[in-house]
Symmetry: none
């Protein structure tokens, strides 16, 4: 008897399987790397690098879980949302630490940004697991409101911080801003794959999983490297 | 009932199984060792040693996965390619860090070398999983173009760096160059085993797995030790 699979198309099923394992490996590799780099930045930025490490460590755990489920023919989207519920607020926090935002301003920003991330993810989930296109669209629109607010605010903080700086620091901030913008836009597009393509379309389902995986790697591991670069540049270490 | 095996020849099947377990153990051992050695080199080379640790850590994860699959009679070549996709760019990066290449030159080199590694591995995969000799040859030839470019560039950087140095530093660079050249040439040869030998040849399939395993150990763990030796020699610590 054949093994149970999530996608009937064997090649696409295997492709997603490999991508999930790849995601696990990248996250765990980044986890170790960020831990080794903590002491290479000035004291006030170390918490930012530690938070980056925690983010990819948690993501590595969830990718391992998703991969394991996929290997026995099960897909639990709950793992993605549980992961995002923990890691997205942390991604906001790590950025504000290395941008050198004052403690008071950071507190004020987090008071609205953290609830907005919870709202965004909480509103996204019912649409993700729904089968009706109408429900998916409704929750997509609702989740896009906090999404737009978070992205707009973080991008604004990046631009403001970049304009206060010059040289290596300014360019590392500019790179982080680009990564943030491009990556975050992948999520709402991947979310809509099941609406855009006909129901049960194997390529669309595989595409959605691949899009989320690539976006997670970029938004967490590559973004963590950008955070580390900002922290290193600010510590007077431009290597 | 007999267990499902990848190779029908029991002894060869067991030999590969043991080699994969050996590979896992060496990679994880090297991972711990490189982490312990980070602080034994000067600050500017620590990232190079950290990257070496990440490379063998990720390889250890993939060898564990390949070994586990083999133990239940399955071989997923995707693990090797997922591994190489992450680790080969990192092998280039760790070398450039310890060779003392200037930051600007390193950035310029990485802009062509990293895409070349992705191209090489992406072109290798379709031929690896294909069954027709023609397809295997086609992708082998295509992948050899970026392969030759990467190897030629890295070997050139090693020679240039070696000629700038004397004594312990020059000899440690010379050793790294030899390891690089000999090891990398194993991969394209192992790739062609299924073309050279008749289809289903048990020894050829076992030989390919053993060749890749030995080459991975040399190209990652032994090469990591060479990287560490260069970093130590440059740090004025020749023990």
């Amino acid at each position: 008897m054949d093994m149970k699979t999530v996608l009937q198309d064997k090649d696409l099923n295997q492709l997603v399987y490999n991508a999930l394992s790849f995601g696990t490996a990248v996250m765990l590799g980044a986890f170790v790397y960020f831990l080794t780099q903590m002491n290479s930045v000035a004291k006030q930025y170390r918490t930012g690098v530690a938070v980056s490490a925690v983010v990819v460590g948690i993501a590595g755990y969830h990718y391992y879980r998703i991969w394991q489920g996929w290997s026995i023919g099960e897909m639990n989207e709950g793992y993605r949302y549980a992961d995002w519920l923990i890691t997205v607020p942390l991604l906001v926090i790590e950025l504000l630490i290395v941008l050198g935002v004052t403690a008071d301003r950071r507190k004020a920003l987090l008071k609205t940004l953290v609830p907005a991330t919870v709202l965004m993810i909480g509103l996204g989930y019912p649409g993700e697991v729904a089968t009706s296109d109408g429900t998916k669209w409704t929750f997509w629109i609702l989740a896009m409101i906090p999404f737009a607010y978070i992205l707009f605010t973080m991008f604004g903080e990046l631009k403001a911080a970049g304009s206060r700086e010059t040289g290596e620091i300014a360019s590392s901030i500019g790179n982080a801003a680009k990564i943030l913008l491009v990556t975050w836009l992948v999520y709402p597009i991947g979310y809509l794959f099941p609406v855009i393509f006909p129901a049960g379309h194997q390529g669309a389902e595989a595409g959605r999983q691949l899009a989320y995986t690539v976006a997670d790697i970029t938004a967490k591991a590559l973004y963590g490297i950008m955070i580390l670069n900002i922290a290193k540049a600010r510590s007077g270490d431009t290597r």
